[in-house]
């Protein structure tokens, strides 16, 4: 069974019961890693088959499968290693 890291956003009006929402999600298979109370987000991992069931939990507004963030800029060192082009990614 495929499992993915997920971030779950809890609705504004349900943020005061975020731990209750988390408990419901755990019962549906969420391996709950952390709760970001200030921004109303649960982090954890989930079997993909359970994704829609978690999305349907009252108080859940979005479930995102974690994706990588990367940067793609061009660097050129100066002064001590001048004119050396380094690609960050």
């Amino acid at each position: 069974m495929l499992r993915a890291n997920v971030a779950i956003a809890v609705a504004d009006e349900d943020r005061d019961r975020i731990f209750e929402v988390a408990a419901t999600c755990r019962a549906l298979g969420l391996d709950h890693k952390s709760t970001l109370t200030d921004i109303g987000v649960l982090l954890g991992s989930l079997e993909l088959d359970n994704l829609l069931r978690v999305r349907a939990v009252p108080g859940v507004v979005a479930v995102e499968i974690e994706r990588d963030s990367r940067i793609k800029d061009a660097f050129e060192e100066r002064y001590r290693r001048s004119e050396t082009l380094i690609k960050a990614r």
Binding site: N5, A7, I8, A9, D12, K33, S34, L36, T37, D38, I39, G40, V41, L43, V61, A62, V63, E64, E66, R67, D68, S69, R70, I71, K72, D73, A74, F75, E76, E77, R78, Y79, R80, R81, S82, I86, A88, R89
Partner: protein
């Protein structure tokens, strides 16, 4: 500084109301309208309980007590289609304090012994603000804590990458922190940092290869919001397809951060190859509540790699900042380096947001976002590429 209003109201009349408005305004609100041809435009020309009718425009300008004005817009009474307080307009040649943008001569710009071209082009050098006591968060690869330009500086750090400290070995985080909050007088070379008086909060959310995950980024945002950071700069992102909509989760988080007084910034992305290819604004910058920053060169022309919005769908560029041949701090032995990318443009905006936050202590969240956009210098390029224009520092 908010928009200033007079004690008068502008009213849009129903189609064809014309002279009939004179009678209805008098009967409903006890406001007497005169014809615009009889009005000389000066403030004393409209006394309390009076107004002027611009019959050809289908509009009126009135001065009345709140109950008089409100009577015109009561449900069921269609005497006014739309109403707003009259704004005060300003002469662009006389900047108003404290947030009006610096007057800038034209491009092209170049680095000098004193300062980088980006600081000159955005009016930072002539600003009286330093971001003093404003908290600015950088979510990136960390910070080179032994860099001579940051030794002695109060910096709060936290790592959200398992097994790694906040010490930066990649260089990207140190570079961005330098642009946003580098010192007034660097150890060597020209000044390159914008908000040298700001309090720097560094969250490590990317690993040594400058890659990271949503979990770390979200944890970093949470930490910055909880720490009371007015500005959160994230020089990171993931490319998206043209048809992709923004992530609901990031939009919800960004809206909550704004409500808590924290403004999020992210780069538009570097996937374009202009003029042939304009790649869409990447995630998370494509969220409406996150300011998407594009890049311009020394001529204030759009950088060839800077993403945009070609088809009117997806995220938009909100504003642009210097992003080509930018000089800043390095984590390497060279101590300094130059770089190009929308990653470099984003901390420019973060630093200037800190200057504005110092200039207008009441402006946080949405109000700070509005100030930043209003202070931009409009450019000739299409709005889809540059948004409101190039960011400018308060005088």
């Amino acid at each position: 500084m908010s928009v200033r209003y007079t004690d008068r109201h502008l009213i849009l009349l129903p189609q064809g109301a014309g002279s009939a408005a004179c009678a209805s305004f008098r009967n409903v609100a006890d406001i007497r309208l005169a014809a615009s041809s009889d009005w000389d435009g000066t403030a004393p020309g409209i006394a309390a309980g009076e107004g002027v009718l611009f019959e050809r425009l289908g509009a009126a300008l009135v001065r009345g007590a709140p109950d008089q004005v409100n009577a015109l817009t009561e449900p069921g009474r269609r005497h006014a289609l739309w109403m707003q307080p009259e704004r005060e307009w300003r002469d662009c040649r006389q900047p108003a304090r404290p947030w009006d943008a610096a007057c800038l001569p034209g491009a092209p710009w170049s680095d000098t012994a004193e300062a980088t071209w980006g600081l000159q082009a955005t009016g930072v050098l002539t600003s009286r603000y330093s971001g003093n006591a404003v908290r600015v968060a950088l979510l990136d690869t960390g910070l080179h804590l032994e860099h001579p330009d940051f030794i002695g500086r109060r910096v709060v750090t936290r790592s959200f990458v398992t097994g790694l400290s906040a010490a930066d070995v990649n260089g990207h985080g140190t570079f961005c922190a330098g642009v946003a909050c580098g010192p007034r007088q660097p150890h060597e070379g020209p000044r390159y940092g914008v908000a040298f008086g700001a309090e720097l909060y560094v969250a490590r959310v990317l690993d040594d290869e400058a890659a990271g995950t949503d979990g770390a980024v979200l944890a970093g945002i949470e930490w910055a919001v909880r720490s009371g950071c007015a500005v959160i700069s994230m020089s990171l992102g993931s490319p998206v397809a043209v048809e992709d909509s923004h992530a609901q989760l990031y939009e919800a988080v960004a809206a909550r951060a704004l409500a808590a007084g924290s403004l999020l910034l992210a780069p538009a992305g570097n996937e374009s190859q202009r003029p042939d290819l304009i790649a869409p604004v990447q995630q998370p910058a494509n969220c409406p509540s996150i300011l998407a920053v594009g890049a311009v060169d020394r001529d204030l022309a759009v950088a060839p790699f800077s993403n945009g919005n070609r088809f009117g769908v997806g995220g938009s560029v909100d504003l642009v900042a210097p992003g080509i041949a930018i000089h800043s701090a390095s984590s390497g032995t060279g101590r300094y380096q130059t770089g190009s990318g929308t990653s470099m443009a984003t901390p420019f905006v973060a630093g200037i947001a800190a200057l504005l936050a110092e200039a207008c202590p009441a402006a946080r969240g949405v109000a700070l976002k509005d100030l930043l956009l209003r202070a931009c210098l409009a450019l000739a390029a299409a709005a889809r590429d540059v948004g409101a224009g190039v960011v400018r520092a308060p005088c």
